[in-house]
């Protein structure tokens, strides 16, 4: 089976950017977790670049929750950007609308940069 998820990460101006391309499920979530571990100390927060996201299982929500909590405690935040329209309702539902979603990565960076 070919790779179904590619996750890359970077930190710029105190913001961690995680680009998620493909399908996050109970197997591939370890890749997301590794990226989260790598940028979880970003002082302003984390942006998920979801422009290439195809599927987001609840395992992805679980991996996100603990890091998001830590960020909020430190005055930072986690923002989902460029989520494909079809996936938006599921992510909103599973997080009980506890997350910020914006149309583009630039919007997320601006939002976190203002913190």
């Amino acid at each position: 089976m070919s790779t179904i998820l590619n996750v890359s990460h970077s930190i710029k101006d105190g913001i961690g950017i995680i680009k998620i391309d493909g399908e996050v499920d109970a197997h591939t979530v370890t890749q997301l977790q590794s990226a989260l571990d790598a940028v979880s100390d970003a002082p302003k927060g984390i942006v998920y670049d979801c422009s290439g996201l195809l599927y987001f299982a609840s395992a992805g929500i679980g991996a996100t929750a603990a890091v998001h909590r830590k960020l909020v405690k430190n005055g930072a935040d986690l923002v989902f950007a460029a989520v494909p329209e079809a996936i938006v309702p599921m992510i909103k539902t599973l997080t009980a609308r506890s997350i910020n979603m914006v149309p583009a990565v630039a919007d997320a960076v601006k939002l976190l940069g203002a913190k």
């Binding site: 197997h27 609840s58 679980g62 309702p89 609308r97």
Partner: protein, 141 residues
């Protein structure tokens, strides 16, 4: 289009992608995109749950059937008895705020699709049912 009426999933998370592909292929032409997405996610979450908590050691058996204006998917496993519908519904907001790493998939099964549970002699059966969206129908079978 040729559809496989049944699918066997080896009890390994790395095989979930194959299960989702089969569900998508089976539902194609019967459900709207939004319905198919919920169905795929519900089946994926149930299978993940069975693999993780049910200690499944033999392949999970899935099959689908069209009956009237309904599409049925069935998941059968041979693991410890577990009815996900009997558990209390999670408080998603509190769970997420607390940073909990699990329990979200249960919400999909309980609240986003019609699911029934039946204990079988060797394990568990979950029945997923969706109304066929007739505007999507391009097949006779």
């Amino acid at each position: 289009m040729s559809r496989r009426a049944e699918f066997f999933l080896r009890p390994d998370f790395s095989a979930l992608v194959e299960l989702r592909a089969w569900v998508r292929e089976s539902a194609n032409g019967f459900l709207s995109d939004a319905q198919a997405l919920v169905l795929v996610q519900a089946v994926d979450e149930a299978a993940s749950n069975s693999i993780e908590h049910g200690k499944a050691s033999v392949p999970l058996h899935f099959f689908f059937r069209k009956a009237g204006f309904f599409l049925f998917f069935v998941m059968k496993d041979e693991s410890v008895p577990f009815n996900p519908l009997q558990l209390p519904g999670p408080d998603l907001r509190a769970r997420y705020a607390a940073g909990r790493d699990g329990g979200y998939g249960l919400h999909v099964l309980r609240n986003m699709i019609r699911v029934k549970y039946r204990r079988s002699p060797n394990g568990n059966c979950l029945f997923f049912m969706e109304n066929i969206d007739v505007s999507q129908m391009v097949h006779d079978s």
